[in-house]
């Protein structure tokens, strides 16, 4: 019966698909390609109501095979994609975008640009929300390519500009690239999302033409709009912009403070700490201590000499001045139940001593002050250091011994 026929057809379709999958997962691209030619028949009677229909399957599998198959060429790939574009109207923009990515990865920028322009002019019936977004993406990528050509022309001009020779046509071209790029880039960053690349380019364009306010506004919007995902990069870009424009320390600190709240383990926190340590205000120095302690909470910083030396310097400063010992006490209180096992175990003392002497020096200083001179880490490192006749370790031992009452006050 026809029902049975349909069922059998469906079954063999599924079987064929599983063969293709099997071949692809074993990197047998040739075999997979052969099966795919059979699978094409499934287009004949496509009754499926599944999320991913056979035509999309063929597009995806075919692309994957052509990417890996040794005998495939760019020409074949383009040919295949052109066919795929006509296979499904709803998918047209998606296929175009993927095609453009492939061209870009192979360095064919001009072809990619042509394809983008072509896709942009494509119209089919009423646009759905998804198509709208895809169209925005296509425009944004075209804007990106415009930006790259702009920056290329810019560098040409700058080179020649130094010679005192300005080519008017190049300059005109550059400005038109700027206009095209700016329009499209501006559009995409209005939609909530992670658009780091586009935002950076757009800000670069604005900055070049001296529109600093607009640039800052764009970045502020990107960083603080609650509809956008919490993106630490947005704050980093904002900080960098402020720094480039020589903004006041205060605004820099406030920008980094927010970054500290979002990502306490960010690499900029080291800069932040140095900046705060230099400050005259005790409140800021207090924040600095907080920041560096927070950085060292993270496993990724465990072996960073830089971070440890920042902490060691600040702790040493506080101990010598004997002011604000309560800061250390407060920070240490919420960490004393796990830092000793996390940072100052005997095993780590041995390993740090073997692998990185300066790390073990900084850590031993902090450990000696925080935990007292009987702490395992300090004892081991200072013992080894004195044995090896290294001067600074002897100094370290003396320093900690002299200030050991501090430990009693902090604990």
């Amino acid at each position: 019966s026809s029902h049975e026929h349909k069922l059998n057809f469906k079954k063999s379709k599924e079987l064929c698909l599983s063969y293709i999958q099997d071949a692809m997962l074993q990197k047998q691209w040739k075999r997979a390609a052969e099966f795919l030619t059979f699978y094409v028949e499934s287009l004949e009677k496509d009754y499926s109501r599944e999320q991913i229909g056979p035509s999309e399957m063929i597009w995806r599998i075919g692309t994957e095979i052509l990417c890996h198959h040794s005998h495939s060429s760019m020409r074949e790939f383009n040919c295949f994609i052109e066919q795929m574009k006509t296979l499904g109207v709803k998918r047209y923009l998606k296929v175009c975008l993927e095609h453009v990515f492939h061209l870009l990865c192979h360095g064919q920028i001009d072809e990619a640009y042509q394809n983008l322009s072509l896709a942009e002019s494509w119209r089919f019936g009423e646009q759905t929300a998804i198509q709208d977004k895809e169209m925005k993406l296509i425009q944004a990528y075209r804007g990106l390519l415009d930006y790259y050509s702009w920056s290329k022309q810019k560098s040409i001009l700058l080179e020649h500009g130094l010679d005192g020779f300005a080519d008017l046509s190049v300059e005109q071209e550059m400005h038109s690239s700027f206009r095209k790029a700016a329009v499209n880039l501006k559009e995409i960053i209005k939609i909530p999302g992670v658009w780091d690349l586009f935002v950076k380019c757009y800000v670069d364009l604005l900055e070049f033409y001296g529109d600093h306010d607009e640039a800052r506004q764009v970045l502020n919007e990107y960083a603080y709009n609650s509809k956008f995902p919490a993106n630490p990069n947005a704050h980093v870009y904002l900080y960098q912009l402020l720094k480039r424009h020589g903004e006041s320390k205060k605004s820099l600190v406030s920008a980094l403070k927010i970054l500290h709240d979002i990502v306490p383990s960010h690499e900029l926190m080291i800069d932040f700490n140095t900046m705060l340590q230099k400050s005259k205000k005790s409140k800021k120095r207090r924040l600095g201590l907080e920041v560096i302690f927070a950085v060292l909470d993270y496993a990724g910083w465990k072996e960073s000499v830089k971070a440890w030396s920042c902490l060691a310097r600040q702790v040493k400063q506080i101990v010598i001045s004997e002011k604000h010992l309560d800061w250390i006490k407060q920070e240490w209180n919420c960490r004393k139940d796990w830092w000793p096992a996390f940072h100052f175990s005997r095993y780590l003392a041995k390993r740090n001593w073997l692998e990185n002497k300066s790390l073990s020096y900084e850590k031993a200083l902090v450990a000696g002050i925080l935990q007292g001179k009987d702490c395992k880490y300090f004892k081991y490192v200072s013992h080894q250091g004195c044995k090896a006749q290294v001067k600074r370790f002897r100094m370290l031992k003396k320093f900690v011994n002299r200030h050991s009452p501090v430990y009693l006050r902090t604990s």
Binding site: W29, K30, H71, G107, D297, Y298, G300, A341, S345
Partner: protein
């Protein structure tokens, strides 16, 4: 500003890893004891709808509730009907014959009911149910009082259990994380590590087996063994400060072991916790020694420190982002040792243990941000700390996501894995120095194993390169794949291996091993049957000068991988043979406990049982000849008298052989008035004597069975006779020595089905049928009566066939 190079998010070139063998090779001898496979769909689902319902996407399979309830009644009759059965057993008759008039009033013939039920079964789906009036009448009558446990309650419990089994069958998440762990060697150069896995018949023994990683890894020394009180679901391990901490999760207990840093050190159990609700997750902190995260199915997350005890971080029976019925929870560590991730099927959140109520943020949400599909659910989250301190792996049944906790909710990498079953196990091997990280994904029921490579940011907070998938994903061998490389087996053995090797996977462990220039990856896989298999993949450096074999196939060598070796290497073949040998040895040993023999009670004695051996007997032949002869002659049969059986079944005056027959003695005793004394004697008949007589009777029965079989061709006349005999009173019994001439079937009704109806007939032989002696023989109570009826036929012998109407 220089134009940046565009890099593909996926599909770039990855490292080439090639399997060294054609299939997975046993790493350890087979798990002990015979493994009992968990129920298959056909055991639970109503069989007619099986094929339709098992298709993905179609929910609501029909559970075969009636069958399971029936199984319960058969397997636990004492629990189901114990007391009522004892009270009423006289009123149920399990024999096949018709009941006699007086008995009929108080006795139900169960076989008739069974027939009705059978007919009902055959007509399932038919709406004309009035045909089963007798069954309905019976159920109507007994439903309320017959069952020991109220039927409604029992049915509820059973249904609940069935639903549980069925959902387990669809997706069993208790194995999440896997029960296999690899403890890497202490020093770089050494190649002895330790494999931690469950074993034993109930998977409740924990083994720490030293392994030597040679070409084929093999066990080193005997394993350290611990017996636990529950089935081990998960084994998790992490190395902190040079020591290994191993967390072991069973349903209601979680334990932690420590293996000290020295090579060959014995593992030491540290602490055990007991949970009221089954635990669903146990992970070991990679940051602090002796710290673990525990989740229970009640939605509670604990941070467990060996020194300070348990700290509850969250208790919420509801899921986080939207409603999902699954009680599964998971927790893992993050880059910050005080911050734990906490997952349910809808997403992940990070909680700060210092202030879990206030400090938390969403790390992953099934939804738009990650462009999830409809129905997508979190299956397994894993902290990728060894590759990058802030990265996280989240698998769903459709995709794999890599997340960065600094930029939560938006995945930095997404890839649709297209595995047939959701990946319950994952392993990560970090690639140092700019090399790709390797991630292994494993599914349980289908044993799928997938190797992915990805490249993330290099080093710590290093370059700006984005996360990208390197190379095409690769499929690794499954355990079941080695079936075709085993030596040829007999079909039933083949089937046995098919079942054994196809057992769902229960764990996954992997390690990278460097041996000079060669680098290889060892992947261990544990099955639910307790077998550990392994496979080795060798890394091929980029376009190294081709080895000799490859030189012979120059064209394809760069296109698709060289054809993999077709047969297992001699070493692997030896492994297979050894494994088989051990397996068979384990199988041939008599099982520790004998299975209770299962008997169908559907019809205790079928017609065929009661008939003699098939084929015409001498008697039949004679009768047939006689019939032919008479037909030829055109005569008629006046009497059913076989030619050689002179005199036939004429009433034979009972010959007093060793004394008067029991009936006569009894009657005499009753007549003379000392009936009581007779009864005393009768009941105190010595046991030994009874046994002797019984033995003799059995011998006689055998003899009789051999001789008497006037069966098949005479059935019609027999039924006719039986009908007659039901009407007539029982004739004087034949002496037991006389072989009954007719099939017992016809004669059976001659004796009353109720021995109690004539308690005054205790012949010495009958005494053997007392319930006491039957109990001694291990015959269940409810069958004793039937057996008694059955045997009484033999004791009393058939009644004399009444005269044929023809005569």
């Amino acid at each position: 500003q220089a134009q940046p190079a565009f890099v593909p998010r996926r599909g770039g070139t990855g490292e080439v890893w090639k399997p060294a063998e054609v299939a997975a090779v046993p790493a350890l001898p087979p798990g002990e004891g015979c493994w009992i496979p968990s129920p298959a769909p056909e055991d639970i689902v109503y069989h007619n709808s099986r094929y339709r319902k098992l298709q993905p996407g179609k929910a609501g399979a029909t559970l075969d509730f009636a069958k399971q309830l029936g199984h319960f009644f058969l397997d636990h009759p004492e629990d189901a009907f114990g007391s009522m059965g004892r009270l009423l057993h006289k009123n149920f008759y399990l024999g096949n014959s018709k009941l006699k008039r007086p008995a009929r009033n108080s006795t139900i013939r169960m076989t008739a009911l069974m027939e009705d039920i059978d007919r009902l079964e055959a007509r399932r789906g038919c709406h004309r149910q009035h045909l089963a009036s007798r069954v309905r009448w019976f159920s109507h009558l007994c439903r309320d009082w017959l069952f020991e446990v109220p039927l409604g309650l029992l049915a509820d419990c059973l249904h609940e259990e069935l639903m549980l089994q069925w959902s387990d069958l669809l997706f069993d998440d208790s194995l999440t994380g896997g029960a296999l762990a690899w403890l890497p060697p202490r020093d770089r150069g050494s190649c002895t590590g330790c494999l931690v896995y469950p074993g034993g018949q109930a998977m409740n023994h924990l083994y720490f087996q030293g392994m030597v990683l040679e070409k084929l890894p093999h066990a080193w020394g005997s394993p350290a063994q611990f017996e636990l009180s529950g089935r081990i679901r998960q084994v998790a391990a992490a190395q902190v400060d040079g020591e290994d901490f191993i967390g072991v999760r069973s349903d209601y207990h979680c334990g932690v072991w420590r293996v000290p840093g020295r090579t060959g050190a014995t593992p030491a159990p540290l602490q055990v916790i007991h949970t009221d609700v089954p635990a669903s997750c146990l992970t070991v902190s990679p940051h602090l020694p002796g710290e673990l995260a525990v989740c229970t199915q009640s939605g509670t997350v604990y941070l467990w420190n060996i020194e300070t005890g348990l700290q509850q971080l969250r208790h919420d029976t509801q899921t986080m982002f939207f409603r999902d019925h699954s009680p599964w929870r998971w927790s893992d560590f993050t880059a910050h040792p005080r911050v734990l991730s906490c997952a349910d099927r809808t997403g992940l959140q990070c909680l700060d243990a210092r202030d879990p109520k206030k400090c938390h943020f969403d790390l992953f949400k099934v939804g738009e941000e990650a462009s999830c599909q409809q129905g997508e659910r979190v299956v397994l989250p894993m902290y990728l700390g060894r590759a990058h301190p802030s990265q996280y792996l989240v698998t769903t049944q459709f995709s794999v996501y890599v997340l960065d906790e600094r930029l939560p909710l938006v995945p930095v990498l997404k890839w649709a894995h297209m595995m047939k079953a959701p990946p319950l196990f994952a392993q990560m091997m970090p690639g140092n120095g700019g090399r790709s990280h390797k991630v292994l994904l494993g599914a349980s029921s289908t044993q799928e194993l997938l190797l992915l490579q990805y490249q993330g940011e290099r080093g710590c907070w290093g370059s700006q390169s984005a996360c990208q998938l390197a190379g095409a994903p690769q499929k690794l061998h499954s355990i079941a794949g080695c079936l075709q490389h085993l030596p040829t087996q007999l079909p039933h053995c083949h089937h046995m291996f098919q079942q054994r090797l196809g057992a769902p996977a229960a764990g996954l462990a992997a390690t990278l091993q460097e041996d000079g220039e060669h680098e290889s990856m060892l992947v261990f896989q544990l099955s639910e049957a307790g077998d550990v298999f392994c496979q080795r993949l060798t890394h091929e450096a980029v376009r190294a000068p081709a080895p000799l074999e490859e030189a012979e196939v120059p064209q394809e060598s760069c296109a698709s991988p060289q054809p993999a070796p077709e047969v297992p290497s001699p070493a692997a073949a030896l492994r297979y043979r050894r494994w088989l040998r051990t397996f068979f040895r384990g199988y041939e040993e008599p099982p520790q406990h004998t299975w209770t023999p299962s008997l169908s009670q559907k019809r205790l004695f079928t017609c065929r049982d009661l008939e003699g051996p098939a084929g015409p007997s001498d008697l039949q032949r004679q009768v047939r000849q006689w019939l032919h002869k008479v037909m030829r002659e055109g005569g008629r049969i006046q009497r059913w008298e076989p030619l050689s059986l002179q005199p036939p079944a004429l009433p034979q005056p009972p010959e007093p052989v060793g004394g008067p027959d029991p009936l006569s003695t009894r009657l005499t005793a009753a007549w003379s008035g000392d009936w009581e004394q007779w009864w005393e004697e009768r009941s105190s008949f010595s046991v030994a004597q009874r046994q002797r007589v019984l033995r003799e009777r059995r011998r006689r029965q055998k003899r009789a069975r051999g001789r008497c079989s006037l069966s098949a061709s005479f059935t019609s006349s027999l039924t006719y006779q039986s009908e007659l005999s039901e009407l007539s009173d029982a004739g004087p019994p034949l002496s037991p020595d006389h072989p009954p001439v007719l099939s017992q079937e016809g004669a059976a009704p001659a004796s009353s089905p109720l021995p109690s109806s004539h308690p005054a007939s205790p012949a010495p032989d009958e005494a053997l049928l007392s319930s006491q002696s039957l109990r001694c023989r291990g015959i269940p109570k409810e069958r004793r009566k039937t057996l008694r009826d059955y045997l009484s036929v033999w004791i009393e012998g058939p009644s004399e066939p009444p005269e044929l109407p023809g005569s």
